[in-house]
Symmetry: C2
């Protein structure tokens, strides 16, 4: 990895792009690191925080001689970006992305990635509720999975380089079919975000319960949902538009199940409710055992 | 408070009952503290952990001479318990409960609480995903709200005693109309739990995504929901059966809003999605400012 990739351009210096820069530095990676963003303010903060070595507002110029170009912007910008920079991508360059939806990204980019350039679709499953150039940190990817979704046409050497790249950042790497990725992420990430956004929205709009009361008594459960409902609005807008099929499919399962619970409440079906709630209990234990969650009670919020 | 309540019986030694015992001790309360549970194992652990001073398996005996009896068991047990012990409650005794639904509890108990005994309906809005006699800790109620829901018939002195009691345990106390309480809690606690249980259930049942994958990639958002979906099944079964009206009302609002988001995804309404997601962002900030949530990123799970 280190010997072949000498110049890396990160397009987008938010939570993901910034964390990539900081994690590369932490790993002792010696490639030249260039960061691109559209606003001077973002570039100033990026330099101040040492997210990258050099910043560039001219995106076309930024990819010159790059061995690796990383797309870390909202999904809907990828195609435009590639169209803009493609004539300046050098042969042998690898382009990878960090988007949360894969099938449509692959479709959109497959026609615009120039000959001699490899595209490796990727998705680091890591994040926080914060965004912007202040949000990144070197440890973000530690022990988190990064899913790569190559197709039949994908260059195997480039795929391997990107695998090593994410491992260098602290990630564990999984190879997955893009369609399957989109389904898995729909249920593990996109639907959870959708219903979190939705309940926070519902609570905001209630006529007979005030916003002040919702805030005041949020420790009863609601506050948990506000974390992911505070995620970047543009990024999430795009995720739902790009992964619409799998999201709508999972949403229909979710809604059908919710109607069953509704019916159980209406019919006072005590047994169904209890059995249902007993079955979900085990899942958290499995997630903690898999190293994907802290074992602290209440996420460690409560100090015992 | 301390001078009038000399003997306290806690019925139920789980997360709430156990925490009450430990918080009373922390506060230096000198009342005699008796704990009741149905299983000898629970009583043994309660003694081992010093949750209470004395344990009692005979519930009728346990309330003898008690100045205060606290119901800290699932909602559906309250009426049965009062019917069983009522002849042994001394005149002037105060009975209070810790249940998450109030209107039906008040209805059920109003006919069985004996003359001369005051019932003060209460609800400490505090908890963790754990339950049982190992789960309690002295700090559980610190800075959390405890809502008391008196009716016209409620004895004012007894109400004031219970207010002081919860303040001694570290809580802030709010007086609220029981019907309003049930609506507020439906949206801030019961619906969040219902949809958390539901999504964990949906994920468990998927045909084309395995449970192992759900666990593996849960850091994308899903794991947040598994915390409250790990809450005590019997307690939550009862909450949905007792607060069915308000829960079903709020669920219909939630479902209507969710259908709007679904439609926006289907119609690729980019603007609606972005605006919706921008509006929900502010809520978390308000909850943190109100002291009802930690300000740490990712609940403090990620160490920066």
């Amino acid at each position: 990895m280190k010997h072949s990739i000498k110049k890396i351009t990160i397009i987008g210096l938010g939570l993901i792009g910034g964390s990539i820069g900081l994690a590369l530095k932490r790993a002792g990676n010696t490639a030249q690191l260039i960061g691109v963003a559209r606003s001077q303010k973002t570039l100033d903060i990026a330099l101040e925080r040492n997210l990258v070595e050099r910043v560039e507002i001219d995106i076309v110029k930024s990819v010159e001689d790059a061995d690796l170009v990383i797309l870390a912007t909202p999904l809907s910008s990828f195609k435009k970006i590639i169209l803009e920079v493609s004539h300046n991508l050098k042969p042998g360059c690898i382009v990878t992305d960090t988007g949360s939806s894969k099938l449509k990204v692959i479709e959109e980019l497959s026609n615009v990635i120039p000959m001699g350039v490899s595209f490796i679709p990727g998705h680091p499953i890591a994040g926080t509720e914060l965004s912007g150039p202040e949000a990144g940190f070197a440890e973000l990817f530690d022990d988190r999975w990064c899913v790569l979704t190559p197709t039949e046409d994908t260059n195997k050497d480039a795929l391997n380089s990107i695998r090593l790249f994410w491992e260098e950042l602290g990630s564990k790497v999984e190879i997955m079919n893009p369609e399957h990725h989109d389904r898995v992420l729909a249920i593990t990430s996109h639907i959870p975000h959708l219903i979190a956004y939705n309940i926070v929205g519902t609570a905001n709009d209630l006529a007979n319960v005030t916003n002040k009361e919702v805030v005041k008594y949020s420790a009863g459960g609601f506050r948990d949902f506000t974390r992911i409902a505070a995620s970047d609005p543009k990024m999430w807008r795009d995720i739902f538009l790009y992964n619409d099929e799998a999201v709508l499919e999972m949403l229909s399962f979710f809604s059908k199940d919710l109607m069953k619970l509704k019916k159980a409440i209406e019919e006072k079906d005590s047994d169904l409710l209890q059995t249902f709630f007993e079955n979900t209990r085990e899942v958290r234990k499995n997630i903690i055992d898999a190293g994907q969650e802290v074992s602290d009670i209440d996420f460690g919020r409560l100090k015992k």
